[in-house]
Symmetry: C2
Subunit: 343 residues, 2 copies
Amino acid sequence: MPGIKDVAERAGLSIATVSRALSGKGNVSTRSRERAQAAAAELGFVLSYHASSLASGRNHNVGVVVPSVHRWFFSSVVEGVSATLLDAGYDLTLYNVSEGQERRHSVLNDFLLRKRVDAVIAVSLELSEAEIQQLLAIHRPIVGIGGPLPGASTIRIDDSGIAQAAARHLIQLGHSKIAHMTGDAAYEKDFRLPGTRQGGFKKAMKDAGLAVRPEWQVSADFTIQGAYASARQLLGGSVERPTAVFAASDEMAIGTILAARDFGLRVPYDLSVIGIDGHELGEVFGLTTIDQDARGQGAVAVRRLLAGLDGVGDPGAADTEFPTRFVIRSSTAVPPVDAVPLR
Amino acid sequence: MPGIKDVAERAGLSIATVSRALSGKGNVSTRSRERAQAAAAELGFVLSYHASSLASGRNHNVGVVVPSVHRWFFSSVVEGVSATLLDAGYDLTLYNVSEGQERRHSVLNDFLLRKRVDAVIAVSLELSEAEIQQLLAIHRPIVGIGGPLPGASTIRIDDSGIAQAAARHLIQLGHSKIAHMTGDAAYEKDFRLPGTRQGGFKKAMKDAGLAVRPEWQVSADFTIQGAYASARQLLGGSVERPTAVFAASDEMAIGTILAARDFGLRVPYDLSVIGIDGHELGEVFGLTTIDQDARGQGAVAVRRLLAGLDGVGDPGAADTEFPTRFVIRSSTAVPPVDAVPLR
DNA sequence: GTGTACTTTGGAAGCGCTTGCAGTTGTGAG
DNA sequence: CTCACAACTGCAAGCGCTTCCAAAGTACAC
C-alpha cells in the first residue's frame, strides 16, 4: 500500500510538497503539482483519511442522527443532507437510532463524541440541554431539524401556523365537523410536533368558534397503515361522522382516504381530507396538503453547518423557520349539503 | 480538550495502561482499569477516533452505497445494516448516490478508497469488475445486495424463481390473461432485477403454455405513483383487460390496485394482483406478495462482512441466496367466471 | 549589481493514539 | 528460600499525514 512518501520519491519531490499538491492547499508550482498528481495516479495512491484528519484536525464528516430512515420525512431529509454534503466533499455518518433511548444514548457517547464528526444534524430528536452542551463543549456545532434543541441551532417549519392554516382551509370551505388525526404518544417522546400541530388545530377551531369534539380527536403512528386503522374507527364507528379530517401528516391523510373509500365515502364530496408534508403519493390521491420540502430542509441544515465550520459561523442558537407551501388539490371541498350521519 | 495523557496523569498511570484500560485490549488490573475509567469520566474524555484508527489500522466503519434511501427497499436494507453495525460498534458511512454515474464514480474514488472504511456494502449497484478489484486490492471486502457484483460476495434473493412462483400462483388459480408490470429502463441501468423477474414471469407463462401478450407487459419506475399511472393505461385503455397483474414490486402492485379501484374493479374479484417485497402497506391492501425481508438482508450482509474482517473470512465471491416467504392475502383469487372485457 | 517582496520548497515536529518489547511485580511449585 | 512463569506496566517507536518555519529561488525595480 503506497504512502505519501512513495509518491514523493517517485515524483522527485518532498513529502511536504506532495501533500500540498494533493490537498490543493498552499502554493505549489504547476509543474510540481502535475508531477505529484501523476505519481499518485500511477501508484494508485490516495491520502489516508484518518492520517489527514489527525494531522489537520479536520474531519470532513458530519453525523446525522435520525429515528428511522425508513420513514418518509427522515429519508427525505437524509437525501437532502446527503446530496449537499457530498457536493461539499463531506462524509455522512448515519446513526439510525430507531431502537430507543439507550441506543441513542450510547450513540451519542461512543460515537459522536469521539471527535469523529465535525458536526451533527439531529432530525426530530430531542436532545437534552446537557447533551447539547456536551457536544458544543467539544466544538461540535449541532443543528436540529424538526425537533426542539435548547441552545442549539434549529431549522423547522411553523407547525402551529400551518396546522392553523390547514384547519382554516377546511373551515373556510364551510366545514364545522372537523376531526383531527394527530401523532401517537409513542412518537411524541422524541418528537413534540404532534402536540404542536394539534395545538394549532385547536386554536383555529376556537378562533372560528367551533367545538373540538374529543371523539374526533384520534391518533396514529404517522404511517398510512396506522392511520388507516384509526380512520376506520373514526369513520365506521358509532360516533357521528365528521365532514372533514385534518391529518397531521400526508401518510395519515392517505390512510384516512383509504379508510373512507372502504366505507364508500367519496373524497371530497362526502369527506374532505387535508394533510401536511408534500408526500410524493399526494398526487395520486389528489391530496390537499402543505408541502414542507423535507429535502430542502436537509440541504439548508447542511449549509448552515458548513457556514459555521468554514467561516466564523453564528454563535449557535439561531432558529430558522423554513417556508412551506399550501398545495390545493382535490381532496378538499365544501361539505355535503345534508351533512347527516350515514346511519 | 483532554487527551489520553491528561487521563493518565490524573489516574496516576502511564498512557499505555490507560489506552489498554479504555480499549479493553490487553491485560490491565482491575484497579488500574477502574482508575483509568474514572479519570476519563471526570475529564469527559473519549478516545479520538482518528488517532485510534491511524495507530491501530482499524476503522470500525463501513461504507454503504445506495441509490436512494428514500425508496422502500433501500431504506429497509439500511435499517437492517445500521442496527447490526451499531451493535457491533461500527460506524456506517452513507453514500446516497442518487444523482447518477459521475457522482457514483467520484464517491468511489474520493471517499471509499481513502482508507476510511473497512468494507463496503453496495446495494443494488452495479460496480464494474475493475471497481471491485480496486476495492479488493486495498483490502476492502465488499458485499453486494441485490445487484450483480462480479468477483465480490453477494447476497440476493432468487429473483427469477420468485417471479416464477408469483406467476404460477396466478396460473394455478386459473388465470391465463396475466399482465406483468416490470421496472423501468431507467432503473435497469444499475439494477438488473426487472429483467430477471420478467424472465421468471415469461418462463412460468411458457411452462404453462400461456401467451405473453406484449400489450400486457407494462413498466413503471417501481413507485406507487408511477405504477398507478401505468396501470391506468393498462386497465383503462383500449386493450383487452387482463384478469391478473403480477407487479415486480409491492409498491407497483399497490399502484395497480389503486388504479383498479378507480375503474370500479374489485380486487380480487375482477382483478387479481400480486407483488414482491413484503412492504408494510401490503397489509392494508390485502396484498398477496413474496416477502423478501430487506432488513434481514442488510443484517446478513453485515454479519458476512464482519466475519470476514474479524476472522479469516471467505475468499470473497460467495453468493448467498436469501430465503423469501410467500404471503397469501386477499388480492388474488380465481378469475371472474366471465372474463370478458368491460367494454 | 543590489534590494525587496513574493513564491516555492524541504526539514522536521507534531496530531493522539496503539502496541512491541522489556522490565517489574506477584504467585505457586520445588 | 529460590526459580519459573504469568500478569501487569511503562517506554518509546511508530501510524501517515499536515503545516510551521526557514531556506532557496524568482522577478522586478532601482
